[in-house]
């Protein structure tokens, strides 16, 4: 089968790849481009570990075909830190012991980033709703919820 050319922006950098038709964005990111921050958990859209941000919205990269992403602005956890300085969400996860084995962490952070981008001062219920598409085996979720709330507070203090 002929390969399909696809071009998009990944964390601010132009990327161009030839992918086989039907290739998922997750596969293209991890195995072709080498950004392994999105994780392949269930490959059927139920665990959230592969979550990325496409044009500002949270998407499951395991259910997104790479060839549909032409011209898209794609963001992953690998692109969050700026010049070696962690993103406030990454810092809050680290300081709050909100990650253990770490497999769900990139998906959790992507989900939290979309939340905070749209709702800078979320309630606990907002955070729970935003994280509800992601499964964590280790933490019992509470440290993750607290880390997202802490990141929101840090953001609002920086903005003030």
């Amino acid at each position: 089968m002929a390969k399909v050319p696809v071009q998009f922006t990944l964390n601010g950098s132009e990327k161009a790849e030839f992918v086989e038709s039907g290739t998922t964005l997750l596969h293209a990111l991890r195995d072709k481009i080498g950004d392994t921050s999105p994780k392949g958990g269930c490959h059927q859209g139920t665990c959230g570990a592969c979550s990325v941000i496409i044009d500002g919205e949270l998407r499951l990269s395991c259910l997104t075909l790479a060839e549909t992403c032409g011209g898209a602005d794609i963001r992953t956890t690998a692109g969050l830190a700026e010049g070696g300085v962690l993103h406030p969400l990454q810092r809050a996860f680290l300081d709050g012991f909100a990650t253990q084995c770490g497999f769900c962490t990139p998906g959790m952070i992507m989900a939290a980033k979309v939340l905070l981008d749209h709702t800078p001062n979320p309630s606990r219920e907002d955070v729970v709703e935003a994280l509800s598409g992601s499964i964590c085996r280790c933490t019992g979720y509470e440290p993750i919820i607290q880390a997202v709330l802490a990141a929101a507070r840090a953001n609002s203090q920086n903005a003030a």
Binding site: C42, Q44, T46, C47, F97, Q100, C101, G102, F103, V127, V128, E129, L131, S132, I135, R137, C138, T139, G140, Y141, E142, P143, I144, I145
Partner: protein, 334 residues
């Protein structure tokens, strides 16, 4: 038909390690030319924090800052032998092996420093900041960086150590069958409060209050993290999760996350954790194995709370609405 409230309590003992053909773990420690310390292990960090804890144990034993220690768990083919990361044994077994290896390495380090400072090694101490000094005369000191350089390029010494920790196999006594299947018990007690809808059989866990006795907490924040996650997992075992996929027939068992259910961030009970530290005699700096223990007491506590709420004993996990309704039906019929 009503929402009924109940409270249940449970207490457990939980072992560290196991007893098959004996329970060994080995560790090797060596210094790099610049005085960092490599710990080579076949024990694996599954996310429970093995690398951090082993670095702390090695650093404390040698007398250097934790960031001077690198943990290498790369390859079970080539590393020193470990039975594995299971049975809550990692900190206890590997930690004891690391202490032994680090003590031997520390002795060589002090001997090299003694030659450089022209004193007796037994008169030396570490300052914990990366230096070795003469006891009572800290102005007579040498950095561990310089000691390692000297060992490598001048003295021809390997600053290294071997560690081996073995719990020997325990055979049952012929008369009584008594044996020692494990060592170093951790303990926990949980009180759970639930609401049971006696029309739908649904259980909502309102609060879970846990006390864990885990020996010495070598890293209190990581211990807390493990216990909070474990308490959640215990509730998940009590109400949602099942070993059905494995036996006896998996025809109707869940095969993916749509069917194999776990509580999500919206299903959390109010959780309290209290840690009691009673250092164990045979653990590294008094540590026990809190890993799996922490996910156990919630299960009988929830079962007891369900009994308190609606008067039925569910003895099969998970405690599903179906099992509660069947038990209520049987209770009404009898």
């Amino acid at each position: 038909m009503a929402i009924r409230r109940g409270r249940g309590v449970a207490a457990i003992n939980y072992p560290t390690g196991m007893n098959l053909g004996g329970d060994p773990t080995q560790a090797l420690v060596h210094s790099t030319p610049t005085g960092n310390f490599m710990v080579t292990l076949s024990s694996v960090d599954l996310g429970q924090g093995m690398k951090q804890i082993m670095a702390q144990i090695c650093a404390e034993t040698i007398g250097v800052p934790t960031d001077r220690v690198v943990i290498d768990t790369a390859d079970t083919d080539t590393g020193p032998h470990c039975m594995g990361t299971f049975a809550s044994r990692g900190t206890h077994r590997a930690g004891n092996a690391v202490i032994q290896a680090a003590k031997e390495a520390r002795q060589v380090m002090l001997e090299v420093a003694a030659e450089e400072l022209e004193v007796n090694a037994s008169d030396l101490e570490t300052d914990g900041q990366g230096n070795i000094q003469v006891k009572g005369a800290p102005q007579r000191s040498i950095s561990i960086f310089d000691v390692a350089l000297s060992a490598h390029f001048k003295r021809g010494r390997s600053i290294s150590g071997r560690g081996m920790f073995l719990i020997p196999r325990s055979y049952p006594e012929k008369e009584t069958g008594a044996m020692k299947p494990s060592t170093c018990y951790a303990h926990a007690c949980t009180v759970a409060e639930v609401e049971v809808d006696d029309e739908t059989g649904e259980v909502t866990v309102l609060t879970v209050k846990n006390v864990f006795e885990i020996g010495r907490a070598l890293n209190p924040k990581m211990v807390e993290q493990q216990l909070v996650g474990g308490s959640w997992m215990g509730i998940s075992h009590a109400l949602y999760e099942t070993t059905e996929p494995y036996y006896p027939s998996r025809d109707h068992a869940g095969t993916d996350f749509n069917q194999y259910l776990m509580p999500g961030p919206g299903d959390l009970a109010e959780t309290e954790i209290i840690v009691l530290e009673r250092p164990s005699a045979d653990g590294p700096f008094g540590a026990k194995g809190p890993g799996e223990m922490c996910a156990n007491p919630q299960i009988p506590a929830v079962a007891n709370a369900v009994f308190d709420a609606v008067g039925v004993r569910i003895d099969t996990l998970p405690i599903t609405p179906e099992r509660i309704l069947r038990a209520l039906k049987a209770q009404a019929a009898s």
